[in-house]
Each structure stands twice: as C-alpha cells, then as structure tokens.
C-alpha cells in the first residue's frame, strides 16, 4: 500500500434496505495510524457504514476501498471488528473462543494461543481463561470480545461502541490500550456516543444523521467552525468601553466575551494591549462536540 493511500476510503456510497435508505451519498477517508471518530444518533446509519466497511453488506452504488483497493477476502484478516451487538459462543470456554476467532483471522493455532494468553494477561483476564463465557459478567464478556478483536494484531480496528457496559476503571484501561494501538501504527475507526471520548481520542471525525453526512473533518476545525465568535479572557480590564464586545459574562475560567458580528478576536487582543490591561490568558472559546452534535441532530 502506498504511504499516501488512505486505509479506508468511501466514495458516494449508498445502501438501502427494502424501502429504507440507510446510507446516502457518503464519502470519507480514514488515514493510516489515526483514530477516526464515527458519530451519529441511534439509527443514523453508523452500524450500516461499519458493516459496509467490513464487506458484510455491499453498497448499492459508490465504492469502498480498503488499503487502496476494493475489498478482498484476504483483507478480512487485516481488519478487526468489534460489532455493537456482541456475539460469543457463550457455552464455551474463554480461551477456546478467543483462539478460534483469532485463527479465523489467519493466525496459526500455536501463535493464536500465545497471542490469546498475552492479551488475557494484558487485560487482567487470565484467571478466567478456563471459564465458560456465560459465567462472566457483562463487562468481562465485553473485554473478551475486545481481546478477540485485537489479538490477531490486525492493521485496522473497527470498534462499534467499545466502551458500552464497562465500568470507568475498565473503560479507562481500554482507552489506554486503544491509544497505544494507535501509537503503534494501527488505524482505528471508533463509533461511539461518548463525545468526551471522541474529543480525547480522535483527531478527525465523521458524523452521519438519517444516512447522510452532516460533519466531516478535523475535530478542532469543526469545533471552531461551530463556535460563535467568543473568547475567554482572564485579565484586569474593564470591558464597558470596548467597541468590539456584544456581551460579556464572568465564568470560572475568566470572562466569556461574545464579539460583535463584524469584530475579530485579534481586534479585542489589540484593544487589551492598548488599554494596558494585564492579560493572564486569552483563548478562543470552542463549542464542545456534544453541543454541536445535539444542535445538528435537533436542527435536522
């Protein structure tokens, strides 16, 4: 794969079920080594998109390229998939189930066993390796499902709500593992409703609603673009005479200033310097992703 090729690229993808349009004219790219956030309310088409990427569904039109080419059966061994609806052989033992799923990724049995045990140790689950899946708690089953997804060491990880059902401690452990995997060059597509996690893990995101794209690109750019002209300033200035300010309110971090329609933050900063104010901090206010998400969903 050439270095410049995206790990995943969707172009004008459309998918319908009977009369329902699940995904319409959707295009995005996921770059190698990035954690890419896939957002959207329930029923927006996220899972359909992930299944399209995994070649579980095939698009009615448009194209999907993985590693720079159309999906090949061999690619299944290079992509790990954690579906939203967890599925394990509940009556079988933990180690046997993981080993089987790892072998299905093309890993030979002896290596599959080594990788399975390594990951069980890593996520502190080695004690349950001989227990049946159905005997484990929901959270532990979730961890087993995660291990089965990553143990074959795939290049791309497609994770659909990986933190659901986990307590904060285990969720934190999983976040660290995901960050480490990305640091080691794995490409990760993360579908979740937990916006704070997307903000802390992802650099770029794609948001789908009613099967259509509503957001796509760099997270910081998106937040900036969806922010009103506001800055948060901590200084000793008196803002009453400032010609650029429409509204100012004090908050815990300083004063949140909403600028007038034709004013820019740099004009305010120049004014502060001119009036000789002691400026301790000056930052453009960014709207949290959750607010953008809610606003977009409600508007649509």
């Amino acid at each position: 794969m050439p270095q410049s090729s995206p790990a995943i690229a969707l172009h004008s993808v459309r998918k319908t079920f009977r009369t329902v349009v699940a995904v319409e004219n959707t295009s995005f790219e996921v770059q190698p080594g990035e954690i890419f956030g896939l957002l959207g309310p329930n029923g927006a088409g996220k899972t359909t998109l992930l299944r399209l990427i995994m070649d579980i569904f095939r698009p009615d039109s448009g194209s999907i390229r993985i590693f720079g080419h159309h999906f090949l059966t061999e690619d299944k061994g290079r992509i790990g998939y954690l579906p939203e609806e967890r599925g394990l052989y509940t009556k079988q033992k933990v180690q046997a189930v993981i080993e089987y799923l790892v072998q299905l990724k093309g890993v030979r049995q002896p290596q599959a066993r080594i990788k399975t045990l390594d990951w069980l140790k890593r996520l502190d689950m080695v004690d349950v390796k001989d227990r049946r899946i159905q005997e484990l708690s929901k959270g532990n089953q979730q961890k087993i499902q995660f291990i089965a997804t990553v143990a074959a060491d795939p290049e791309i990880l497609v994770l659909d709500e990986p933190f659901s059902g986990l307590d904060p401690v285990n969720a934190r452990a999983l976040i660290l593992v995901i960050q480490e995997l990305a640091n080691n060059g794995k490409t990760i597509v993360l579908s979740t409703h937990q916006m704070n996690l997307v903000e802390s893990l992802c650099r770029r995101v794609f948001m789908i609603h009613h099967g259509r794209q509503v957001l796509y690109g760099d997270l910081e750019e998106i937040r900036k673009a969806h922010s009103e002209k506001a800055v948060v300033v901590r200084s000793n200035a008196v803002y009453v005479d400032c010609p650029y300010i429409a509204h100012a309110t004090a908050n815990g971090r300083g004063v949140q200033i909403l600028l007038k329609e034709n004013s820019e933050p740099r004009q305010l900063l120049t004014w502060l310097v001119e009036v000789g104010a002691d400026v301790q901090s000056f930052e453009c206010a960014k709207t949290p992703l959750e607010e953008i998400f809610i606003k977009l969903v409600q508007r649509k």
């Binding site: 579980i56 059966t73 579906p83 394990l88 799923l101 299905l104 093309g106």
Partner: protein
Amino acid sequence: MLNEAFMNKIWVIAKREFLVTVTRKGYIFAVVGMPLLFGGIFGISFLTSGTLEQSIKSGSGPIAVVDRSHTLDFELAVDQELVQESPTTSTEVLQKAASAKPKRLVSYTDLTQAIQDLKNGKLSAVYLIESDYMSTGKIIAYSPERGVFSDLAPPDRSRLYDLIRASLVKGRIDGETRERILAPGKLKQMKVSKQGEVENASDAFQKAARFFGPFSMFLLLTMSIFFSSGYLLQGIAEEKQNRVIEVIWASVDPMELLTGKIMGLGAAGLLQVALYAGMLLLPAVTVFALFQVSVAGLVLSLAYFILGYLLFAGLMAGTGILGNSPQESGQLSAFWTLLSMVPMFLLAPISDAPNSWLARGLSWFPLTAPVTMLLRITSGQIPWVDVGISVVVLVVSIYLAVRGAAKMFRAGALMYGKRPGIGEILRWLKEA
C-alpha cells in the same frame, strides 16, 4: 480460488464444528442412545414374543390327551422325537431355537381330572378324542384363558396329529411308505429368475438378511443425512440468535463459513455412520455371516449419502439463516424434510419394484433422489443410466443450493425480526 488461507480457515471451521458437534449431548445420544434404545426395544419385543410364542405353543406343562376312541399308542409319542429332522438350514436353527423344548403328550382317562390339572397349571392343554373319532375325526381342545392374543392361537396340535398318524399306520404300513406318511417331504426351494435361470433359493433367513443388511445401511445413512444437516441448521440458527455470526463474518466470507461447516458436520455424520456400522452391522456380520451388502452397493450408498448430505446441508443452511431462533429455523426446514421423506412413505412400492417409473421418477427429482436411490440400491439391480441421471441432478442441485445458501447468508444473516417473504428471498438470490 482455493488458496492456502482459504483452506486454513475452512479447516479451522470444520475442525471446530466437528468437535463441537461430536461432544453435543444430542449427538452422543443419537450415536450411543439410539442403538441402545432400538436394541432394547428389539430385545424386549424378541424376548417377550419368544415367551409369548412359547406360552401359546406349549404352555407350561405337558399336553394331556383323553383318548376315548382308543386310537393312540402313547409309547409312540417318545418316537416322535426321532421323526424330527436334524436342522440343516439356519431357518431350522431359528425354528428349533424358537420352539425350545417340545412338550410331552400324556394320557389321561378322566377328562374332569385333566381339566382340573389344566386349571392348576400342571398342563398346557387338554385334547379330548371322542369315541366316534374314526368316523367323525372329532377332537375337542381345552386350553387355559391367557388373554386376547393367546386365546386366538389354538394349542399346538402337530404333536398330537403326529401321534395319531403314527398310531394309525402302526402294524399296517411299514418301511419307506410309513416314513413318508410321518415325514412327507424335505423341501428344497428353487428360484426361477426373470431371465429363466433356475437357482437354489436361499432359506428364509438368508433372504431376510439379504434385504435387512442393505436396508439397515439405507436407514442409518438416511438418518445420518438428516441428523447432520439438522446439526448444521441448528448451529447456524444459534449463531444468528447469539449474534456470533457477525463476528465470524468479519473474518470469513459466507462461502468459507458454509464449506467449513458442511465439511465438519459431514465428518460428524460419517463418524456417526461408522459408529452405527461398528455397533450394529459388524457384530451382525460376525454373528450371522449372512448380512449381504455388496461392495458396489456400499460404495454407491456412501456416494448417495455424501450427495444427499451436501444437498440438504445447503438447503438447511439457507433456511436456517431465515429464522430468528433454532426453533423457528427448524419449522421452516420441515418443508425440505417432508419432501425428502416422500420415498419413505412409498417404501413398499419402491422396494417391490425398484425400477418402476415411480421409483425412477423420484430418483430424478433432486429432493427425493438421495433417499430413493439409497432405497433402490437395497432392493436390487438398478440401471446405470438412473445412477448417472440422479448423480448429475444432485451435483447441479448441490451447486445451486450451496450457492443460494451463501447468498441467503449475505442478505439474511443480520436480519432480525420479521421474516422475509418469498419475493424478497428471490430478490436476494438474484442479487448478492
């Protein structure tokens, strides 16, 4: 293309399916429990029928004869044992074994006493030969009340009749004529084939063995086809129900998954056949050395077993994926099972005329071909053209069934809730 990775995944799936299936309770019951159950039923019915037969035939004591005509010479009753021929055929062995100890005939003068002894269980039957017997032939038989079925069977008369015959000819007819009156003939059966060839006919047991050997093979192969494809159906429905199918599908494509499953469960089916054969057929062969399963018939039967299994595996897989639970999938698959069982309902006409148009027609229809051909193989020579046609029909049907099942997988594996209609299924088969 069958590359190494493809084969490895198929092998991994097949191995797992085999191991999971052969350790299932249902499988172990089918392999061990069924022969024990059938063996038990057969054994109990054999033992009870033997006991019943014996009790009907000879009761629990000797047979009393009150001879008011003074025709009988009871000393000759002992000689009757000599009239019995030494068994020379397996049929006679069985008959001898079944008849066990013949009951003595004892002379009574007082009918009331004889009936009293009969009532007390000392006698198994009482015959009264009336004084006018020589002119009327009148004999009255008394037997204890034992139940509806026992009462239907009259007490054993053959010993009495033998004694009457021996007594009547004594001193009147001697030599070979006497022998022939007492033992009229040693029957040797000959068979004339349709081609006019005259051959020694087998005795009844051999004839039965010639049928029951292949017929047992037919039954267990047919059962194994449905057991194995049933496991496939159940496994797929369970994977859909517990959502594993999506995880599996992220690693293998439907064709790999189906091929692996079909191979693994087919091996489990073959193991089942082999174990049945080991438990039932081989001991039978060792004990009787009479079960006749020709090598060609065996090879052909195994070929139809494999073809039948592959066809039903494809159909069951395609159907299994439609249901929301193993139970629902089972109900949907009943359609295939019922159709394929049609030859079982027509067992008698197909066995009697294995080359009739009915049998041939059913051999050319894919759903009924495996069972019909397995049955026809047990019943006699079948034209090679029928073998050829049915094999071609089955191979084409297997290809379509497995391919169709793979398409159904792609479209239906993740569909929950409302079942698709016929129109939608046809669209799936056309697309994908």
